[in-house]
Amino acid sequence: MSEYRICPQCGERVENAPEQHYCMFCGSDLTEEVPPCPSLQAGNNLEENNVTEDASVWVDYKPHWWQTLVGIYLALLVLGIFLLSTFQPLLYYVELRLFRFTALATGLGIAVLLAGVRNRASLTTLVIFLVTDILSTLYWLLDIIPLMGDFAPLIFVLSLYLPTVYAYSLLAQNNEFQNDDRTWLNFLAVINVLNVFWESTPLWFNSTGDVNPLSYINYFNWVISPLTACAWWKVARSAAFAGGYDKDAPCDFSPLNRYMAMILIAPALMSVGMFFLSKYMYVFPN
């Protein structure tokens, strides 16, 4: 993947590899010798080479300064909450009730990203995130959950879990991500959806007599928190929020896509596995 050449038929960039016999954009035959374009080395800035390129192609964008700012802010938020909850003496200096505003603080960063949405799908995603963040804050702030009675877990999950899942799938479905950035988004989606799931743990898990599986998350947070911070950084600086709002860009709003399947199945498997691990943890010697 060191060089590209230009397809003689459609003018698109094609990887200059011996096994690449056809253009992946127009399908024309590339078996005859096409000289590699020296100005199109991978990693070069396309604008410098005066190559006109479709704005939706992943290589051609530059993150705005507010994206970098939001990336740093959200990463520091994740790491800060992790450090505060890990090193208990630090909590002495913090008003505990501030933790109820975690979702709102996340929403603050997400609101800044509204400045650079690329299409209606990104906009919808951010709005859903904002609404669920505000709802989550209101639930804990106004103590609404005890008032919900038996329906509390249902309402909680339906109003926070499902919209979040849908929003992530919308973002992934309708935006061009680099292969590695897509993995970061998957990671962020799975972990955040799991967090929403675990947030409702006190509602559906009877912790008297059993060990709350939530308490074991602390073990993995040493790995998960830095990765989540990195994932926020990557997603905030992705092309999805790099500006150039196109109102008429075609977007797929159907919830039946592979990302929806991924975000529903993977955290569900992990949650069920964790539930049974904590249920039968007496099997383990220590």
């Binding site: 998957n186 989606a189 993995f220 990302y259 993977a266």
Partner: protein, 181 residues
């Protein structure tokens, strides 16, 4: 084999298995496997440290199992997104389950082997030191120069196990430390 090839070996494997049906991240699966191997080896090394020196640094087996579960879950997510059809995603997920389990077992074995290697090296080193001491004493070459507590050097004979040197001048000296070979 470059560094990049080394941390994408699972990608190379699955490319040979499914060719163009899977477009997964090149690094993710391999890094997951390496992480599970690390977790497994930490478990066995911690167990060895606890049984030998009573140092409790072992991560609990529950936490390790949960880490493996998380790693597998993230790889299931990767499979569902990266595979072109559902059946391939299912097979890749099951393969990852097998691979994660094997990686854990391999990590435990690897940690055990590491502990064994360190023990063998320490044992050989101790043998060499003791043998040298023993040889030195038996052959009478203990009749050498020693540094005493006061800092002066004396010429004399020292028996192994004691910190008293019988000097050539007939007096006894206490040497600085009994390991001064």
């Amino acid at each position: 084999m470059t560094y990049k090839d080394k941390i994408t070996f699972f990608y190379a494997l699955e490319e040979s298995l499914w060719d163009d049906k899977v477009e997964a991240n090149h690094y993710f699966a391999t890094l997951s496997i390496l992480f599970v191997i690390l977790a497994g080896s930490l478990n066995s090394i911690g167990g060895a440290l606890q049984s030998m020196f009573d140092i409790n640094v072992t991560p609990s087996l529950f936490a390790t199992a949960a880490v493996c579960l998380y790693v597998w879950g993230l790889n299931v997510a990767e499979s569902i997104v990266a595979c072109t059809d559902g059946l391939t995603a299912l097979w890749r997920s099951l393969l990852m389950l097998l691979v994660v389990a094997l990686a854990y077992v391999g990590g435990v074995l690897l940690g055990g082997i590491l502990v064994a290697i360190v023990c063998i090296i320490l044992f050989v080193f101790a043998c060499i030191v003791l043998f040298k001491m023993l040889l030195g004493t038996l052959s009478g070459s203990g009749n050498t120069r020693w540094k005493t507590e006061d800092g002066e050097e004396v010429h004399g004979e020292k028996l192994w196990g004691s910190d008293i040197v019988h000097g050539d001048d007939g007096k006894d000296y206490k040497i600085k430390d009994s390991w001064g070979m």
